[in-house]
């Protein structure tokens, strides 16, 4: 391996680790102001919305791929199935879809 590639990887590793580590080590949940706590509790659900959409539409060149996979996951998850069944169910339905298309 070339030295420059080694240093590139180390540089990438450092700038990836710092944003993940700083808030976790420096913030103390008891000392965060209540208003900020309330907003931080909203973050997971808002972030999930943003992480799912519109990215799901571009998992494949065929836009129906994401739509069918997403709807399958919504239906299975709605009936309270375990996360693994939701994931595997969406994969199986899409395998059928791409097999017949």
């Amino acid at each position: 391996m070339s030295m420059s590639m080694f240093w590139l990887i180390m540089g990438m590793a450092i700038v990836t680790y710092i944003p993940r580590m700083l808030p976790l080590v420096t913030l103390n949940a008891n000392r965060i102001p209540p208003k900020l706590q309330a907003i931080l509790r909203n973050v997971p659900y808002a972030a999930l919305g943003a992480l799912i959409f519109p990215g799901i539409l571009t998992v494949n060149e065929d836009i129906w791929f994401g739509i069918i996979g997403g709807l399958t996951a919504i239906i299975i998850a709605y009936f309270g199935a375990n996360l693994i069944f939701v994931v595997i169910g969406a994969i199986i339905v899409l395998s059928f879809y791409s097999f017949f298309i």
């Binding site: 990836t16 680790y17 993940r20 976790l24 949940a29 909203n42 919305g49 992480l51 994931v87 994969i91």
Partner: protein, 233 residues
């Protein structure tokens, strides 16, 4: 979201590993593709595996491959990586709000594994989590990422295309499964997720995707909090 703390049972690490299985499945096609692309970009096996082992950030690694292929300088690649991953500041802050107090060194160790997906699994738990739990989720996710990056480099092209394509839905299916229980219980979660999805759809037109996710998440978290406060009073 319940915030009652419970005494931590000994099985926190294995519980995290089980909670992270969905991530491990979802990382399979993404890591396989990374290994495959790394090979075609001209990285050696060691370089590809080292990048996955030390960086552990899907989007940033794909982007780095693109930039390497274009002949971009190292500093620019590192800066781009930083920009792409700055969203984890927000996610890590949200995890810290959910995490039971523990030694800073333990927190610093499990911080290495806080990807988008580990953040999502951790913060959607009903109760407070421990560092052991977060570490468990991180370890299985990390194992899958590194192992399958290596596999992708070695045999990626041998896998049927349809399987790789169908598995690309896995992480999105997992995100949906994580969102659904709270979605059914709290009206606020519906407004949070939908407004963030809409803001993100709008922002990706003029912002890089990492920034778009940050902007949409912050804006939606703030806005819904303000609206809810108004309705209460």
């Amino acid at each position: 979201m319940a915030t009652t703390s419970v005494t931590k049972p000994k099985s926190e690490f294995p519980r995290g590993v089980v909670a992270g299985i969905g991530i491990a499945i979802g990382y399979f096609p993404a890591a396989l593709t990374f290994g495959l692309l790394a090979k075609s970009t001209g990285l050696t096996f060691l370089e590809a595996v080292l990048m996955s082992s030390f960086v552990f950030a899907g989007a940033a690694q794909y982007m780095a491959l693109n930039l390497i292929a274009l002949g971009t300088g190292a500093l620019e690649i590192i800066f781009t990586t930083f920009i792409v991953n700055i969203r984890h500041l927000l996610m890590s802050a949200s995890v810290s709000e959910k995490l039971e107090h523990d030694h800073p060194i333990k927190k610093a160790i499990c911080a290495f594994g806080i990807t988008d997906e580990v953040f999502a699994v951790t913060t959607t738990q009903e109760r407070k989590v421990t560092t052991s739990f977060v570490l468990g989720v991180g370890v299985i996710a990390y194992g899958s990422w590194v192992l399958h990056s290596a596999l992708g480099f070695l045999v990626g092209s041998a896998l049927p295309q349809t399987i790789q394509e169908s598995m690309a839905i896995a992480l999105y299916a997992m995100f949906i499964a994580l969102l659904m229980p709270s979605l059914k219980k709290h009206r606020k979660v519906v407004s949070l997720a939908i407004s963030a999805a809409m803001f993100n759809t709008l922002f990706v037109f003029f912002l890089p995707s990492g920034w778009s996710i940050i902007a949409a998440t912050i804006l939606s978290s703030l806005l819904i909090e303000l609206v809810e406060k108004k309705e209460e009073s």
